[in-house]
Symmetry: C2
DNA sequence: CTGTTAGCGCCTTCAT
DNA sequence: ATGAAGGCGCTAACAG
């Protein structure tokens, strides 16, 4: 059997209370005593039972982290950053991957994090009022990456402004017939970004009085295949768009393929800009709006740890995005158009 | 405060032992009694404290899952599958993302899963003898995805055979000067695949007595950039390769870009085949050897759950791979070569 | 079929 | 600065 706190106490010749205090670095322990205890613990290869500690203290030193799909780039990237910060702070990470809307419902009705975490981090879900309420009922610090909700901490970007950055770029290149390939704003998994990026797109057009054409707004469902299908439809329009803004790089990849398969050249015949600066965007020579992904996760995690320590109010942080121009929105376009 | 088992017992008019039995679905409880208890529990919105249960029972209903980098496609994909199976079985998942070799060392020396999990799943690390020993010292079922070690359960593919599938395909198209872009077999994170895929590559050449040329074996470090750099070097050789086998699709993407940037055509001037059937391989029109990724994770998790239930011997399962031919290894190559 | 009673291993007052 | 002792909330014999 593994050593228990009593074994350590016996070997060090002190009480278990002193062992507990020494090992946790609490004050009011004589240095000599602490050293004796540390030596004994090391000799016995002692590790405290987290369950006993948690039961006795009421603290779990664990975060619950909820993601819609671990295997998608954005969520995996955020998760990695969150994990790193938690590990550094001595916290465990309990992963909850929703997977689909059924998994989502189960999570919010069962709330499997109950009685087992000190805080919860939710990544990029547009929570319903009921869901926010469910999370609030936990009476724990709750943080969100990628969206803001009353009463919850958050770190995010300004999706509306970022979408405008993208569309403004296309406008500045002279494009006026600009299509949108977006996410479903009625998606059962309800991400916030589609909604805001659509608004940004329309605002940008509106700002210089380019009338917006519903026929140019298509759904790409945040997948490569979806982006490709949407682009195919756009290419069949009587009056084809000269540029496309895709709400994610992955959809943009699909759009680029559709363009190439139609015998047209990306950037020359049709400009394409994406969103994210996904790890392959550079490879694909895709212009995009970069959002700091890992940073959002790390920053929120730090904020949550601070909240746990100081019992402070929820915070909301908005991080900047950055236009990244690559070959898919080349300037020489006019050369080929004329 | 949240309700405890005593509150439920009081409301149902039974002892806490009966509540425990009823809620866990143990036998020897009268149906009427069980119903009373369930009703009381529901009314109080009762959830058992996992820490108390774990302390008392000695079981944690938790798996530790170790991945080198969550944010990389393969690991994220496996993780998602593992999570799904565990969730379905009522298990929690404690995530450990190593990140770098420092994180790796820390994990294996500290073993932060001690006293908190029932089993450990390690994804695709070539463990050293010391590391296997450290895991074994936990005296828990340990499983590995993507490699095999004595005493540990595993689900994996045959990397040697899969690499041969890829190279045989190139050989069958008439290629004889075939380069390799591989992972570092001395990588501090020590994945097994590079080693085996290199062997498969050499075996395939050997089988038809094509002499293997060390100048054609380059390191791509499993990144797009690494693959591109490796390909650039290969293109500068006096006697250029006519085909390339990359040990991962991501490296193949980089190689394809290098080929295009050199003004050559992928598939026509130089054939490229990757490995994995990464989610973008279809998009890139890249031929590859598909390995079942999520399946490996799910299968191993089921095996581990079974091992926990039956206390059976470690198992080893090898899943098949499949050649997927796309445009990057087109047959019409000869048309252009002649 | 149900209740009683020890623990599980640690944290945390409260004394000293 | 240290020790004694009572929980934390549940499980698991053991009785009955």
């Amino acid at each position: 059997m593994a050593a228990s706190i009593e074994d350590v106490a016996r070997l060090a010749g002190v009480s278990i209370a002193t062992v507990s205090r020494s090992l946790r670095g609490l004050p009011d322990v004589a240095t000599a005593t602490r050293d004796k205890v540390l030596a004994a613990a090391q000799q016995l290869d002692y590790v405290a039972s987290p369950f006993a500690a948690r039961l006795a203290s009421g603290r779990s030193s664990t975060f619950g982290v909820v993601v819609p799909f671990v295997h998608r780039w954005f969520f995996a990237e955020v998760l990695g950053a969150v994990e790193g910060v938690l590990r550094g702070a001595g916290y465990d990470l309990l992963l909850h991957n929703l997977g689909d809307s059924e998994g989502r419902e189960r999570f919010f009705s069962v709330l499997p994090v109950r009685k087992r975490v000190d805080a919860v981090i939710v990544v990029s879900l547009a929570l319903t009022a009921d869901e926010v309420e469910a999370l609030t009922s936990l009476e724990l610090p709750v943080g969100v990456v990628g969206a803001r909700f009353p009463g919850l901490s958050s770190v995010r970007i300004d999706d509306v402004a970022a979408a405008r950055q993208a569309v403004d770029h296309l406008l500045s290149l002279g494009h006026r017939r600009i299509a949108l390939i977006g996410g479903d704003t009625d998606d059962p998994m309800r991400f916030t970004p589609p909604h805001h990026r659509l608004i940004g797109y329309r605002e940008a057009l509106n700002a210089i009085e380019v009338p917006y054409d519903p026929a140019l707004e298509r759904l790409g469902y945040f997948t490569v295949g979806g982006g490709e299908a949407a682009m195919r439809e756009l290419l069949e329009l009587a009056e084809r768009p000269t540029a496309v803004f895709a709400e994610s790089d992955e959809m943009a990849y699909g759009a680029m393929r559709a363009i190439r398969r139609a015998g047209l050249r990306v950037g020359h015949d049709i400009a394409v800009i994406g969103f994210d600066d996904h790890s392959n965007a550079d490879l694909m020579d895709l212009s995009t709006v970069r959002q700091p992904v890992a940073e959002q996760g790390a920053l929120l995690t730090h904020a949550m740890l601070a909240a746990l320590a100081d019992d402070t109010e929820p915070t909301d942080t908005v991080l900047p995005t950055e236009l990244v121009v690559r070959g898919s929105t080349v300037l020489e376009r006019s050369v080929y158009k004329n």
